[in-house]
Each structure stands twice: as C-alpha cells, then as structure tokens.
C-alpha cells in the first residue's frame, strides 16, 4: 500500500518533470523558430492565379490605401519597448547567429548546404500539408504531397529538390496564415526578446505548428540538444542564405527597425495571400505633372 503510494507520487513527479521539460523545450524551440522568421530575410512567395479573399474585421489595422497608407501598416503601440528588444535581438544576431552562419558557410561546401536546406524543407512537409488542408486549398495540398514523395524517393530523402525542378514549386504554410485566412486579426506588432518581429497571431500559430509537428513528438524523448538540432540547423541554414540580403538591408536603411518591421509586414501579407496581389490594397499612383 505504502509502496503503491510512493509509486503514485513518483509517477506524478515524473509526469510533472516530464511536462516541465517538454514545456521548456517547446519554449526553446519556439524562441529559435520565431527567430528564423524575424532575423532572416523574407522567404520567397509564390504567385498564383487564385486570389484569396480575406475578410478583416472593421477597424482592422492591416489594410488601407491612399495617402495614409504608411500610417496604417502594422500597428505598433509598443514601439519604445519594441525598439529596445530589437536592438538586443540585433546584437545577438551580429554577435552569435551571423558569425555561426559564416562558419557554417566556410566549413560546408555549397552543394551540401543546399542539400541540408532541401532536407529541412522536406521535413517541414507535415506542417505545410496540415495548413494547406485547414485552409481548404486542396490544389496546394496535392503539390505538397507530390513534392514530399518525389523528393523523399527520387531526391534521396529530400536532399535534392527534384520536384521543384520538375515544376512542383515549393510553398510554405503555417497556422498563423491559417488563422489569418479564417479572419483572425494579427494584433499589434511586437518584438519579443529573442523571438524578434511577430504578432500575437503569428506566435500562436508557431506554437500550434510546433505542437502539431510529428517531429516534436518523435524527438520528445531525446536530449534537449538533440531535439533542438533540427530547429538550430534550420536557423543557421536560413541565416546563411540571408547573409548578403540582410547586410545590404542594414547598410542601405535609414532606420533598420522600421525597415525590418515593414519587410516583415509586407512579406507576411504576401505569404498569407499565397503571393497573390490584392489590387484594392495597393495605394494609388500619385498624379504628378
């Protein structure tokens, strides 16, 4: 009886410890994952013929047109705090992430780096496929499935993007985009410590994607460093690909904070619309004589 009580307590203790470990891993994974989207330059968006209609609630802070367009980008009520956080993140990027990416570039030849990037992209298929389906876009879901099987089999486990070469272009989807398609507003712009530029909607989407990704659970029982390896590899790989673009952006920008915020916003909107142009959202061309 006593032993039973002790065992039960032990089980509870283990369960709590396990949960705590998992939550801490989840948070760490979330930090690194969002850092990719925040520090790294925008990812390619793919134009498609279909135009998605997004219904935004009245008073939405996302869409406007005309002369006041720049005032109505992503609302930034916490700009003071955001600028401080941005400076911290930028320092971490310059001191840690960029140098690591440079070493990675020096050590690995380009074909290997490309192969790793392809492999990681292939491994992220479950998240993209789930969100393709949640958004009701069966055409893109089909593309995702075809790409996965072609690249996994003919592309040596995803190292070679044979599907892309055959015309099945890669696209990405995440739960933040799905929420946007469902009409959930983004909320204000926030720059969280280490997480970087985001919105509450984007962060919630990231957390859901991590929980829904089979790799999170497959790697749940291995050591922390092992479970975070794919995320770290993805971060370094993406930072490597963005070195020149980010360097150029930093050099040419009159206000790096505003530049990154605007790039983030425009890129995110493009991702949500699957690269399609929403013509009504475009500001008019001024009539200049």
């Amino acid at each position: 009886m006593g032993a039973g009580l002790i065992d039960t307590a032990g089980i509870h203790k283990n369960a709590i410890a396990s949960t705590t470990t998992f939550v801490s891993r989840l948070l760490a994974a979330l930090c690194i994952a969002v850092l990719v989207t925040s520090v790294v330059a925008p990812q390619p968006a793919y134009a498609e013929d279909d135009r998605r209609i997004i219904i935004l609630p009245a008073g939405s802070d996302e869409v406007d047109a005309g002369d006041d367009y720049e005032e109505s980008g992503l609302r930034d009520p916490f700009e003071g705090v955001n600028r401080v956080m941005f400076a911290v993140n930028d320092a971490v990027d310059q001191v840690v992430l960029r140098p690591v990416a440079l070493v990675y570039r020096t050590v690995l030849p380009r074909p290997l780096r490309k192969g790793l990037a392809n492999f990681l992209a292939n491994a992220s298929t479950p998240v993209t496929l789930a969100n393709d389906i949640l958004q009701g876009d069966m055409k893109r879901a089909e593309t995702t499935v075809v790409r996965f099987f072609l690249n996994s089999v003919a592309g040596f486990g995803g190292l070679h993007d044979v599907a892309g070469e055959a015309g099945w272009e890669r696209h990405t989807e995440d739960f933040g985009q799905t929420l946007a398609v469902y009409g959930v507003p983004s909320g204000p712009y926030i720059v969280a410590p280490l997480l970087g530029p985001a919105t509450p909607r984007h962060l919630v989407g990231r957390a859901v994607d991590i929980l829904a990704n089979p790799w999170t659970w497959i790697l749940a029982d291995v050591s922390l460093i092992e479970s975070l390896s794919p995320t770290m590899a993805e971060t370094i790989s993406a930072r490597d690909e963005a070195i020149e673009a980010l360097d150029a952006t930093r050099e040419g920008s009159p206000d790096y904070y505003v530049t990154i915020k605007s790039l983030y916003h425009q890129n995110r909107e493009s991702e949500i619309n699957n690269g399609a142009i929403i013509e009504d959202d475009l500001p008019d061309i001024p009539d200049v004589r």
Partner: protein, 208 residues
C-alpha cells in the same frame, strides 16, 4: 395593389437585365481586345526592360551604377516615385528642391541596386501575365530564371502609362513592393525629425 404592380416590376427588371446582357455581349469583345492589346504592349515593355536590367546586374560592377541610372532615367516614373515616397509629407518638399530630390532618389536606388544585384542577376526573364488595375495602372508578372538552377524568382512590375508609353512605378520582389518599402522608410526619417524633409535630403546626400 402590390400584387398588380409586381409583374410590371419583374418585366422592367427583365428588360434591364436583357439590355445589360446584350450590352455586355456586344461590348465585351471590344473591351477584352483593348485590354489584351494594352497588356501585350505592357508585357513586351517589361520583357525588354527586364532583359536590360538583368544584363546590367550581371555586368561589370564598375559600370553598374551609371548604366542602371541611365535605365532609370529612361524607364522609371521617378517624379511619381519621389512624391509617393514622401507620403503625407509630400507638400513639404519645396518646389526649388524637387529636381535635386529626384536626382538623389535615382542615386539612392542605384546604390541599393548594386548591393542587391548579385542575388537577383538571373539570365532570363519570362513574362507570366498582366492585369490592368486601371487604364494607367498595369501590373505585369514575370519570373526571373537563374543559370545556377536556383528556384525562379517571381517579380511583378507596376507600370504607369504615360504619354504613348510606359514607366515603371514599382517592382515587387519576394512579396515586397519596393516603392512602398521606400515610402515607409522615408516617412520614418521625416517623422523622426519632426516633419523636416531636409533631414531626408541630408540622408540621401549621404549625411544622414
């Protein structure tokens, strides 16, 4: 009373619908033909300018700035871009500073082009479609292909129809409209300097 007027209402509505349908059938081919020819001309224009830009981007770095500025002078709607980039502060630009400001923008954009050129220097441009936002505002879509096998890059060109030809007002790369991006940055500089457009001019001159 209501019942007796209902049939008349329906017949009037049907008459209107019928007229609209006939008008649509008669006018659509004409409208489609006009739009198609406008689009074809716009697409041809982008194809030609795009080739020139790719050629400059993959050419010698020493000549890149002057060659690109020459292309801008011929093909960019620089006045419209310049005024647009000032956002709500456009009225604060003194008339006497306009030409100097436009020239500074050309230099600024050429500087950015040199920085980004290596990443966008493809070897072929393919036009994938076009759409007229209005008679003077046309968007042409294209793909830039790379000899290295890198995935093609989607690029959209927003054209302003001026006179008998076109000028480029904005370009969208990786989902980013560059003129809109520039406007956000320019407005930020002016705003942080209490609405002083001179601060922007100072930045563009390299003194920011």
């Amino acid at each position: 009373m209501a019942q007796s007027s209902h049939p008349n209402f329906i017949s009037r509505r049907r008459l209107l619908q019928g007229t609209a349908l006939v008008s649509a059938i008669l006018l659509t081919p004409l409208a489609a033909s006009t739009e198609a020819s406008a689009s074809a001309a716009a697409e041809q224009y982008v194809s030609s300018v795009g080739k020139s830009i790719l050629s400059v981007a993959s050419g010698s770095k020493g000549q890149m700035s002057s060659q690109f500025r020459s292309l801008m002078a011929r093909h960019a709607a620089i006045s419209a871009i310049g005024i647009f980039s000032l956002g709500k502060y456009k009225s604060k630009l003194p008339n006497g500073q306009r030409s100097a400001y436009f020239s500074l923008i050309e230099k600024f954009v050429a500087g950015l082009f040199i920085k980004y050129a290596p990443q966008f220097a493809g070897n072929r441009i393919e036009i994938t479609g076009s759409k007229a936002r209005s008679a003077k505002d046309i968007i042409v879509s294209s793909k830039v292909h790379f000899a290295s096998g890198k995935a093609p890059l989607d690029v959209q060109w927003r054209l302003l129809k001026a006179g008998g030809g076109y000028k480029i007002f904005d370009v969208r790369v990786l989902g980013i409209w560059l003129a809109i991006q520039q406007r956000t940055e320019f407005v930020s500089v002016i705003k942080r300097n209490n609405g002083d457009v001179g601060a922007l001019l100072k930045f563009l001159r390299g003194g920011g």
